[in-house]
Amino acid sequence: MLFAKKLVAAIGAAVLALSAVSVQADTPKQGGTMIMSLGATPRHLNPAVQSGITTGAPGAQLFATPLRFDENWNPQPYLAKSWSVSDDGLSVTLNLVEHATFHDGVPITSKDVAFSIDTIKANHPFKTMFGAVEAVETPDEHTAVIRLSQPHPALLLALSSQLGSIIPEHIYGDGQDAKSHPRNSENVVGSGPFKLVEFVRDQHIILERYEDFFIEGRPYLDKLVMRIIKDPSARSLGRENGEIHLSAFESTPQDILHSKGVAHLTATDQGYAAIGPITWLAFNTKKEPTSDVRVRRAIAYAVDRNFLINAVMQGTSRPAYTGIHPDSIFHEPDVARYDLDIDKANAILDEAGYARGADDMRFSLTVDFGWPSAKPMAEYMKPQLKKIGIDVTVRTSAGFPAWAKTVSNWDFDMTVDVVFNWGDPVIGVHRTYLCNNAKKGVIWSNTQQYCNPEVDAVLAKAGQENDQQKRIALYSTAQKMIAEDVPIYFTDTVPYHTIYNHTKVGNPPSTIWGTCSPLDEVYLKD
């Protein structure tokens, strides 16, 4: 055994020595163990019933999806070798690859696709993904026809990494509740490039190459280890001393900047276009005085997005002018931006009749924040809005749940918030603005209680428009309308970065889903 290993190593070394001259640096290489770090433990590993990036990263390795997207938002074949949308947009046909199997060797058929979509529709927190699906027909083993009640352009994205995981019916179809199914964390039988070896909570997820993966020659890695390290400085040191090859979702400005000074590390914010995380200042549009659009505009003029980016985030984030991430094809940069203008802000408030009182203040407002990294931005509001005569009190919450409770019960004036786009605007953007989505007690619904029927109408139309160009135009209109009403002052992107050792990692994840997409193309250099 040991001899065999040595022999293999010797032959490998010899082959390498021979080929070293001719081999290009970018030729992917088979083999090796890549160590990746995660900052949190997933609740479990089944993305069909659990949303979120922490489940998404291992989930996309364990479970394949019908489609995958490249870095330019183009759908690519994955489990479906081809697909077609009917002219009326009411049915989508998936033609599956024929030799794909689950990790236990059972073939993946259209029945599994139908079962997966049903399971996701019933259990996944994002109801808009498959809400329009009426039925999934399976005319033969390798064809699935998705019947829709209305045109649903977001469907293709909902069938991609992280969202549309194909799970085995012979495992999850046993009648147990899919959300708490024991096989979500143990003995996971997936359809993706890697199979589960071991998942130890708060420690690691060990994944191993699935030999019979349906894409020939992939994945390149033999093993993919995700170490769960919650302390950001420990992760940073681990990258520096070579223990960690790649870290996903790093967002601390200090760590990002630090890694840029380390010779063997590269930090990139590419690969977060679909997650689309945006930081913003939300207003309670139903409570005096933030119910007055002039007050909201004045505050928007007084807050300096550039200061937040350059000073607070130390240049690691990028400006966001709307609720659609700048890396999305639907982003419209040409909207009312409310660039810093204190005089204008004061003039607006004077004109609106909010006179300064004896203490030089017009009125007072509160600003909430729910997690430590949002604190600097919340605290910045106090001195900044004092310049326009608003007395701001910063309210600290006892952790996320307490903040969520306060904000989702509309008991706030302003709050710092971070909301994800989740790929298609129908999934992660509409929810923030639709009149009928102002649902008390539900965080990241329309907690601003913003309501503009015209915006609703445009969004509804955009959500059903199958022509990409027309759809882009509709979202452009919606973003401009929302910017005029300022229910939210958008500041910047959340600086999620993938930090990796470029002397070791080849083909770092760069698609729109980044580290939440299958890492079958990533390889280890020598």
Partner: protein
């Protein structure tokens, strides 16, 4: 001819009367009763405190998911009984605990007992290692310091242990990582095993020990000062006593006097304290565990608190209060047995 220990035992037993034994049993029962009341009080208090904080696990699940639909959120609250009135939830929980069922973790979807028992060995390993290291080093430091109380070594040892005591343990931990995992990379940054290579048997044990070194040093830094101060004080006390002077007069070597004669007696208060410190099994390790990603109870506790996973938090608190109550009861009873002077009469300390 009975052996010496048998003679001693007979002598010892003779010291007690039947009445003493009865009283001992009575007091044990009484103490156990108090322990039980204390446990119930801890449970009630924790339960109420946990529910005083706004927000619940449904919010955390929403956070992890990046947003939840209203109906899903309502379903979660219904599934976990969070929509019931508080007293109803409390009765449900208590009737479970009475049947030794600590409930089901909302967040992890696993029985709380399983979660806790899974994490106990790692915490025990860390706490015991840290105790051994800190007792050993602490006593050594104490002895060195006691022999020349105003010498340079003594001051140096005192200073070192006090700095270790005063520095926040997470800071010590991070500094150790920077020093020994980055500047001089001889130890890993955290976790319990290196999962990139599969190891078995001896290699596996060595790997765990390798990962254990830094967290052990960090955790022992807090206890070190305590033990060295205790050892120093009691050693100085003992070194001044008559029997030590006799030993010195007999012409025994310094080593024999200090380690064979004096240290034995000087160790008593250290051992007592060690017993008490040990009962705080969770509290000491929480911060060290999170800095070093050590998979113990502390890491679980922090995660459960952040996630508002009430059953898990209550389970851990219940478990640790159980350990404290049991440790105190045992210490107390053992005292009464080994030191007959604490024979209880009416109105004595109970």
């Amino acid at each position: 001819m009975p052996a010496a220990w048998q003679q001693a035992f007979l002598l010892y037993v003779q010291y007690f009367t039947v009445k003493d034994v009865m009283q001992f049993l009575l007091i044990t029962l009484k103490r156990a009763g108090f322990g039980l009341v204390l446990l119930i009080a801890v449970l009630v208090l924790n339960f109420v405190l946990m529910h005083l904080a706004p927000g619940d696990v449904a919010d955390t699940i929403a956070q992890d998911a990046g947003g939840l639909d209203a109906e899903v959120m309502a379903q979660i609250r219904k599934d976990y009984g969070l929509d019931l009135p508080l007293w109803h939830q409390m009765m449900k929980y208590f009737s479970g605990v009475a049947r030794l069922d600590l409930g089901y973790s909302f967040y992890y979807n696993q029985p709380v007992t399983t979660l806790i028992l899974e994490k106990v060995p790692a915490t025990l390993l860390l706490v015991i290692s840290a105790q051994i290291v800190s007792i050993f080093l602490g006593v050594m430091f104490g002895v060195i310091a006691a022999r020349k109380p105003n010498g340079i070594t003594s001051h140096f040892v005192t200073m070192l242990s006090l700095v270790g005591y005063a520095a926040p343990v997470f800071w010590t931990g991070i500094m150790l990582i920077i020093l020994f995992a980055s500047i001089v990379p001889i130890f890993p940054i955290g976790n319990m095993v290196d999962v990139s290579i599969e190891r078995e048997g001896f290699a596996y044990i060595m790997d765990v020990l390798h990962h254990l070194v830094l967290p052990t040093i960090a955790l022992s830094s807090i206890f070190l000062a305590l033990y060295s101060r205790l050892a120093r004080a009691s050693m100085m006390d003992v070194l001044g006593s008559d029997y030590v002077r006799t030993a010195q007069a007999k012409g025994l070597s310094e080593f024999q006097v200090v380690f064979k004669h004096a240290l034995r007696n000087a160790l008593l208060p250290v051992v007592t304290t060690a017993g008490l410190v040990f009962s705080g099994i969770v509290s000491g390790a929480v911060l060290v565990e999170s800095v070093f990603s050590w998979p113990g109870l502390g890491t679980l506790a922090i995660q459960a608190i952040i996630a508002r996973d009430t059953p898990t938090i209550l389970g851990i608190l219940f478990f640790s209060s159980l350990v404290v109550v049991a440790a105190n009861l045992v210490t107390d009873m053992v005292y009464r047995i080994i030191d007959p002077r604490i024979k209880t009469s009416e109105g004595s300390q109970v």
